[in-house]
Symmetry: C2
Subunit: 484 residues, 2 copies
Amino acid sequence: MRKHEFKDLLNPESVAVVGSTSRNRFYFLRSLVSAGFKGAIYPVNPNVKAAFGYKFYPSLLDVPDKVDLVISEVPARVTPKIMEECIKKEVKCVVVFASGFSESGTEEGVRLEREIVRIARDGGVRIIGPNCLGIYHPEHGLAFRPDLPRDPGPVGFVSQSGGHAINFALMGKVTGLRFSTVVSFGNGCDVDAAEILDYLAEDPKTKIIAVYIEGVRDGRRFFNSLRRAAARKPVVVWKGGRTEVGGRAAASHTGSLAGSPKIWDSVIRQCNAIPVKSFYEMVDTVLAFTFCPRVEGRRVGLVSISGGSSVVNSDYCSEVGLEVPQLSEGARAKLSKAVQSVGTSVANPIDLAGSFMNMNAIKTVFETLKEESVIDSVIFELAVQYPSFYADFIDNPSLSVTFYNMLVEECLKVKEAKPVLIAIPQVAYEDAQRYVRDLFVQAKIPVFPSVERAANALKNIISYYTRGGSAAYSTSECLEPQSR
Amino acid sequence: MRKHEFKDLLNPESVAVVGSTSRNRFYFLRSLVSAGFKGAIYPVNPNVKAAFGYKFYPSLLDVPDKVDLVISEVPARVTPKIMEECIKKEVKCVVVFASGFSESGTEEGVRLEREIVRIARDGGVRIIGPNCLGIYHPEHGLAFRPDLPRDPGPVGFVSQSGGHAINFALMGKVTGLRFSTVVSFGNGCDVDAAEILDYLAEDPKTKIIAVYIEGVRDGRRFFNSLRRAAARKPVVVWKGGRTEVGGRAAASHTGSLAGSPKIWDSVIRQCNAIPVKSFYEMVDTVLAFTFCPRVEGRRVGLVSISGGSSVVNSDYCSEVGLEVPQLSEGARAKLSKAVQSVGTSVANPIDLAGSFMNMNAIKTVFETLKEESVIDSVIFELAVQYPSFYADFIDNPSLSVTFYNMLVEECLKVKEAKPVLIAIPQVAYEDAQRYVRDLFVQAKIPVFPSVERAANALKNIISYYTRGGSAAYSTSECLEPQSR
């Protein structure tokens, strides 16, 4: 008896936090409050009378009103009892935070997990978890940390790991990414990755999906869902436990059997989803999808400040399969007039060299790249250790502020025609790095910590689009994601 | 006639900056002053009477005293004339900043470069450059930027690119690396990579050498020097222009013919030097050499705060060829008592989970890893988004400060027995990231922005030592490098 679809679980009118305790300073309760949950919140703990302005109830059954969602913080062995109470209260869904179920590898853990699944199926209540953090759904004010962005956005994330769910959501603060729905589903004994994927595929507010998965019980079902989702919007899949020892760790983490990474990668690709190998590659790729217009061509215009950077940035792009074509003769003629020519290459890569703070030269560079038909996208390595140093050096620190703001304007013009990706090397001038990054992020231009990572993310989205992947939104929508 | 060896060029008693100009705000003059150059400085420019408290001379020949080193900022076409004056003044060495020589690909540029080489050879003056920044030798107060660390250290860097030379030197500020001698040698028409390598190989203050090279004119000579240097100390080689398009950029940058990357990598390895593919890999590897005791075993103890991180960190280590072995039974027994066991793995990787701020648990973890014979080194992923969040959450922000300082103490104890590498994920809590990084850097424990990068650097130094590479210093010296 499955009374509730996953989509019915995301907008509860009321939440009970069962087992809310001072030991963790009422973590989940406070997460809901911080996220601005607008419905009723009922903390349940027989040993607490009140905290944070909330009256506590001795048991779930004592809550006088209906309860849609239960977040259960009680230990594994008490969970079956709480499940029974949920059925009596006609709760739709229980998030089970406790670990100590099948992932523990013990007989008792396996038995307990079977038992809660049986209770749930018989009684028509859904389970997220166990061994999970549950739901971050900022639009409705659901959250599993008090410090996540409160505003929603276009990214959906299905994560078997609570830690990665927290980390990705937190990274929204520095990348500008915002989320529709993030689900940490842990052991996935009832609601699983496939079901969440099915939902995110249909959800009009989710434009891009990321998945962190350690293993699946029903491979056919998962890959069918993945294929359907990837036919509708970009899906980036990070497989944890790609190696023997990683697989061993996954077994004790979420009870997952890992499977061969080669098979995973090839099946993910067959589904037209994008396999990634690390947390940062996942974030970078989602970032490129979110803030770049659709792009199929591999020809990059590379702009940087030093000759040595031009050389190695060309290497980084070529090594991931991007092209760095020579510009047309017309474009080169225009650039050699504008950019200080000594020690400079303007054929592409473009070395700004001594013109690195000459705004007229830079305008010409960006205008030329915008119009140049042999260029499909632009990667600009903005090494702040030059402009920020120079502004200090000439005793005019505000110059760099003016300069950086003008750069953003120029990049926005290019973005009307093709993707622009910014790389800010993590070298020195850390305050300037952060300041400049935030300027570009506010302008919805994606920022990466190196040209290598920008190039790899760009390659990933190009591969998806050239295989016929559908852009989740048009260029104009892309330019205004709901992400800030 | 080669009157002066490279080592004679590094300790000039007097420097003349010829062509020092207000257009670049007397950049090289001010770099020397900022670096604390203790000898005489003579700025030369017929159009300037005085600046920054310095009297300017109309020409080099007007300088009343002897001049050991000339930094020439004059344009390419004027350089031969300056060279002639240098010979008259019996200058030992000229750093030629100007570009517009052979790298320009023009007949005139090639002719000019031949001419200055001829003048130099005939007159017994050495040239660094042209198209370069010259020498950063903090011990003697030579520098090519005013914002580089003033204290010297164990790292030597031979760089065909001025930009990379600046970037690496600047990164000293955030990594704790310090430098003996950094030379940006540009086109290398006289002093070249081989000669600088020969010097650094012999220099007792240089413990580790890094090389950025785009191409060499005399391959046999370069690789002989590389082999000799790598027999004495670790040499990390980053080849720029590894790809066709990177090679094209290198040709216009330093006039270098790039050569096949595969051949380069294999010859570098044959020399027992360490090939790296990127700026960050170069920095990371030098960092590991500088702050890790000699290590030959590949067995890593992995510590992190979440189960998902344990899984993927195991993947990252395995994928570069490190091992993450299960701990001995005794060790596991000890750990399962100390670390909150629910949802936690203590077999290795070790997931601190809910014990992430329990100092007694953490002490046990580090003590155990220090003593555990199946573990050769430790990578600790310190995700500050947990402790720093938690300290705020419980309204006790100073708690995290105490906590981080205690962590450093524990890691220092492990380092008495084996290398400890810290990875601070770049997720959020950026102020905390920086604060914690600086704490570890001050303790001479290397910090990386991800476990991936820490693991790769560790793999690089292990490969070097297992191939019989000699540690440049013993463990005890390593624990006290001259780097801060």
